[in-house]
């Protein structure tokens, strides 16, 4: 019985809690209803430590980006390389903040070893934040976009 129940993860409630967490700038939030309890938290200590370690590191993500590393709404970079937000210089960006994006849609290009790799969205929804700039160097796992 109990094992069956765990399969039904209430994504909506979790998402709502995460939103509240962000809105209220909290670090931890627990919610209990009947047998189900959900706890969401942001690991600010880890973020703070990482950011002090890499102060002089032009490549590493800023504190804000580190916050989002474990956020399920974030699409992270699948490779090391240089980001291009448009197909070619002078043309329109693939996507902008506020746009709707669907799964499989190209969101940006990452150049690695002289090869252009189109990066497709793995999520569907509204782009609420684009973390990277055009021609920015990114590392593996670096947050690219936040999809709500």
């Amino acid at each position: 019985m109990a094992t069956k129940d765990t399969k039904f993860v209430d994504k909506k409630s979790i998402k709502e809690l995460v939103d509240i967490l962000d809105e209220m700038e909290l670090t931890k939030l627990s919610y209990k209803k009947g047998d189900i309890s959900i706890s969401v938290s942001k690991d600010l200590t880890a973020a703070a430590i990482t950011s002090t370690n890499i102060q002089d590191n032009s490549l590493s993500s800023s504190e804000i980006k580190t916050d989002y590393r474990n956020d399920p709404r974030v699409i992270k970079s699948p490779m090391v390389g240089t980001v291009y937000l448009q197909p070619e210089p002078g043309s329109n960006k693939f996507v902008n903040e506020g746009d709707s994006i669907s799964t499989g849609q190209t969101m940006l290009i990452i150049e690695a070893m002289k090869t252009m790799n189109p990066i497709e969205s793995t999520l569907q929804g509204k782009i609420s934040k684009i973390f990277v700039q055009d021609e920015e160097a990114v590392e593996f796992g670096q947050p690219l976009m936040l999809i709500d």
Partner: protein
Amino acid sequence: MFKKILIANRGEIAVRINRACQELGISTVAVHSEADRDSMHVRIANESVCIGPNQVNKSYLNAHALIAACEITNAEAIHPGYGFLSENASFAKMVSDHGLTFIGPKHEHIEKMGDKIQAKKIMQQLGVPTVPGSEGKIENISDALKIGSEIGFPVLLKAAAGGGGRGMKVIKNEKEMSDNFSIVKQEALSFFGNDTVYIEKFIDSPRHIEVQVIGDSHGNFVHLYERDCSVQRRNQKVIEEAVAPGIDNEDKIKLFETVISAIKEMGYLGLGTLEFLYHEGKFYFMEMNTRLQVEHPITEMITRIDLVREQITVAAGEKLSFDQAKVNPLGHSIECRINAEDPKTFKPSAGTINLYHPPAGNGIRLDTFIYSGYKVPHYYDNLLAKLIVTGRDREHAIRRALRSLDEIIIEGTVTNIELHKKILASEDFKKGSVSIKWLEENIEKL
């Protein structure tokens, strides 16, 4: 000289290479997997790039990610350390094809020495003593039987693509050869993707003696004496020492001369180690490692030469900073590989290091990447630290090693420190000249 080097490794060796770079005034880029975000090599480098998830094939073995990391950081050279991609010829070629420098030998040499049959043939032609055996690969069982009786049983049936002690079997007689020939071929195919096998005379209970060499691109080739790495378990070195005890000096000088003429003939660049079996006064070439060795510090301690520094400078096209006449070994140095493993069951142990306190004092060097609070990930090698002790002679070095092992504190993860103490305190080890089988045969009695 390079302005910026990317260190394509982790753990103690990435820390070691970072030190040499800092002392040369070279800026460093550390690469790491997601699991290694808090690792020491990332903390001490000037820059860092996460190159992939925890699995090594997606991070530290990911050639494309490493090149891309060089591109975005403008690193000019890659130091591969040991293991991972350090002896991968196609990676070395890929690095130079991208206009970067691979800090190591020419990729042709890595490729030639990587094939055990070819390496042996080349060394034989260059006059280096090798183990008697088949000239090349053995096609069928009748050839195997013929060569077996020619060189005399017992023989070793080996996979050409094997290494690290895997893919070989001792064959005692003709019947065993008939029984095992196709099995070994099949194993070679499934382990290494290549079923080529060859035969060598089986040398019972030899010692493992290796010679350190380095060459530059200005025609200078020197040796830095030998190391004895006979204390092994399952073909993994446990304790190494320099120089090797109880070997006739004239035999050694003869061997060094042959080795130098061989690498000169090859036009070898950078650091290399020729590994030999030593038995009853004779050396037999086994293989050449075309990279920096784990146990390089003991050679550094007795010669007072920074091998990693020289490796970097010769890769940049500079001359070696010393010549053969300047290599004068002084004292005796011993290295203990401190692994996160149970000293009895050898089960690897991951976990958080609650407390770490290194030994110190005269003649002590500890190459490590651990710190108090460090969480040892279970994805990688279990080498935590290398304790390198140097004394005025062998006896002094052993006593110094024992007192250092009493001083060191590593809490939170199980280590093989107790095993090291038992080995160093044993009468056999004190006498010197143990064989590569000694530890396994005596481990229960220690």
